[in-house]
């Protein structure tokens, strides 16, 4: 995607071009799965279970390396010992990249909200695009999270501001989160919470 690679466009892209690029991106998401705890099994059920079959949504699991991935699903409890590895993984993924936080633990700490060794929310380390609540979420909930992310990608602009923000690792404020019960905090609240990963 040469247009997007250098991060800047001389002028705003034409609408059909934007639509086509986003349409192509949203149906070829290479998903790197960062399975940590219980949610990893539900994620595996969504990936490998014939009943859910995530691949019909255009999500391609099991890339050989994070360097080939577009999307990472953080599923499970993030501990303080694991946090540096997650940050490193995130930095290895080429831009533009998306993060789905799956399960209460990686959303906010979940049942371990007062534990001494658990990171209360993966959004303290990396910016998150879609939160999927549940302990653990059903595979259908993860599928809905993927669909929401795809809607979000479709609505992304390819103008200078949006892409530049995405490249800085920020969640662009003007991309509206799909308002279903799955989306938890508003994008504004989240944008103020997370900074650039390299900051």
């Amino acid at each position: 995607m040469g247009l997007v690679e250098n991060g800047t466009l001389s002028k705003p892209a034409a609408k059909p071009l934007t639509w086509l690029l986003n349409y192509s991106r949203k149906y070829s998401l290479w998903m790197f799965q960062w399975g940590l705890a219980c949610c990893a099994i539900e994620m595996a059920a969504a990936l490998a279970g014939p009943r859910y079959d995530m691949m019909r949504l255009g999500v391609i699991p099991f890339p050989a390396s994070p360097r080939q991935a577009d999307l990472v699903v953080i599923s499970g409890t993030v501990t303080d010992k694991m946090a540096p590895a997650i940050k490193r993984l995130y930095e290895q993924i080429p831009d533009p990249k998306y993060v789905i936080s799956m399960g209460s633990c990686s959303n906010c700490g979940g049942p371990y909200w007062d534990s001494y060794s658990v990171t209360k929310g993966v959004d303290q380390i990396i910016p998150v695009d879609v939160y999927v609540p549940g302990c653990p979420p059903r595979p259908e909930a993860l599928l809905q999270g993927i669909v929401m992310l795809q809607e979000r990608i479709q609505n992304e602009g390819l103008g200078n501001d949006e892409l530049a923000a995405r490249w800085r690792g920020e969640v662009p404020g003007d991309v509206a989160m799909v308002s279903t019960p799955v989306a938890l905090p508003s994008p504004k609240a989240r944008a103020s919470k997370v900074g650039a990963p390299d900051a």
Binding site: C38, A48, P50, T77, P111, S115
Partner: protein, 395 residues
């Protein structure tokens, strides 16, 4: 690496050829090259979570392997001191997340013993049924995953497909697909829904058929046998000395099952079941034993459904549960092995101290000994065959 890092190898009788790769090590001494350190994890699909393994390699062979654990440590024993007893059952669901219901049983058993309360017979039967169902769902995942680790993709789909039927049953009875949190001190939250028993009977037949399928497709497969036979042999006495338990130990020929040999719990004393063992102790034996145990669990569920009594499902317990002062140790046979809780109560609404003995921690402690001298591809096979859950190791 010095020879003092690992305990000495006991004298075991192996078939000729079983340790042939150790003899080939002589060649490598002459062509001595520097060791390579390979870092496996902390995230790898074969590790069922976040186990990190630092492997020192000499060519294709492992010189030493050091497991680094703690990536999934969530501080259970400390958290348990700040929770009330009903809240802790929510937590202990998530220790071994594949067989959640089986984790609740020993803890609730401990609290009931301290309070001198006994759950009514129907509650005991339903608990046993759900424990065995969680065992089936755990082992079905293993039967598929283990084949996946040796490179066969199809059985993984079969395992995930059939496991959904059991999860449906658990969800139908408890409302939770994964973490039921169905036990209450003194009984259960609810009775079984209408039609559940007949549906379970049908699903169990399906599961038994699925076991036959696995036996033909995986256990009888020549490639699978070549990858697993005489790989990762655990001698029975050594495994017991390391504290291994459950199917891993029974696959080494040790005939020991807490459901039969331990202190009686639930309704296992009234059940007619066989404890399966295998004399070999290799990766194939661990697969085979779990396959047989899945079948046995299906038969046990069918037996239990036939004998299911009627009656109440909760004993009389106060609304706010205060457990009298005292201490108790309970241990049960979980799908992964021996799981126990040591609960110290000082008469408050929450325990003073909870010590958790989980099976996987002891099961993987043999890993540095077991992985010494194996080839790199066999590391994954052995890890998969030991079948640990990281939440069960780190807690």
């Amino acid at each position: 690496m010095s020879s003092t890092d690992n305990p000495p190898m006991p004298e075991i009788q192996l078939e000729p050829g079983a340790l042939r790769h150790l003899a080939e090590a002589q060649v490598n001494v002459e062509l001595d090259t520097g060791d390579m350190i390979l870092n496996l994890g902390p995230q790898h699909p074969a590790t069922h979570g976040t186990l990190r393994l630092v492997v020192r390699l000499d060519g294709e062979r492992v010189v030493s392997a050091d497991p680094v654990i703690g990536y999934m440590h969530r501080g259970y024993e400390k958290l348990a001191e700040y929770r009330t007893y009903p809240q802790i059952t929510t937590l202990v669901n998530r220790i071994d997340w594949l067989s959640s219901f089986a984790n609740e049983v020993p803890f609730v058993d401990a609290a009931e013993r301290l309070m001198c309360v006994e759950a009514p017979p129907r509650a005991q039967y339903i608990r046993t049924v759900l424990t065995e169902l969680s065992r089936i769902s755990t082992f079905y995942l293993f039967l598929g995953e283990m084949a996946l680790q040796v490179g066969a993709l199809t059985p993984a789909f079969y395992g995930f497909r059939d496991r959904e039927y059991v999860l449906n049953l658990i969800e139908g009875a408890t409302g939770g697909r994964f973490h039921p949190n169905f036990n209450r001190i003194g009984g259960l939250k609810d009775d079984l829904p209408w039609g559940w028993i007949s549906e379970t009977r049908e699903v169990m037949k399906k599961m038994l058929d699925g076991c036959d399928e696995f036996e033909d497709l995986v256990a009888g497969n020549e490639i699978f046998q070549a990858r697993t036979r005489s790989i990762g042999i655990v001698p029975g006495e050594l495994g017991a000395a390391y504290g291994m338990s459950g199917s891993n130990l029974r696959a080494s020929g040790v005939d020991w099952d807490l459901r039969r040999d331990g202190r009686p719990y639930l309704v296992y004393p009234e059940l007619d079941f066989k404890v399966w063992t295998h004399p070999d102790g290799d990766s194939y034996a661990r697969y085979w034993v779990r396959l047989q145990e899945t079948r046995e669990s299906c038969r046990m569920v069918l037996q239990l459904l036939d004998q299911m009594p009627s009656g109440p499902i909760t004993a009389k317990v106060p609304r706010i549960i205060k457990v009298p002062a005292g201490e108790v140790w309970t241990e049960v046979e979980n799908p992964l092995g021996q799981m126990g809780y040591y609960v110290v109560s000082k008469g408050a609404t929450g325990p003073f101290r909870v010590k958790i003995r989980s099976a996987s921690f002891s099961n993987v402690s043999i890993m540095p000994w077991l992985l010494r001298g194996v080839y790199v591809p066999d590391v994954i096979t052995i890890l998969a065959s030991l079948y640990f859950i990281l939440g069960d190791i780190d807690r």
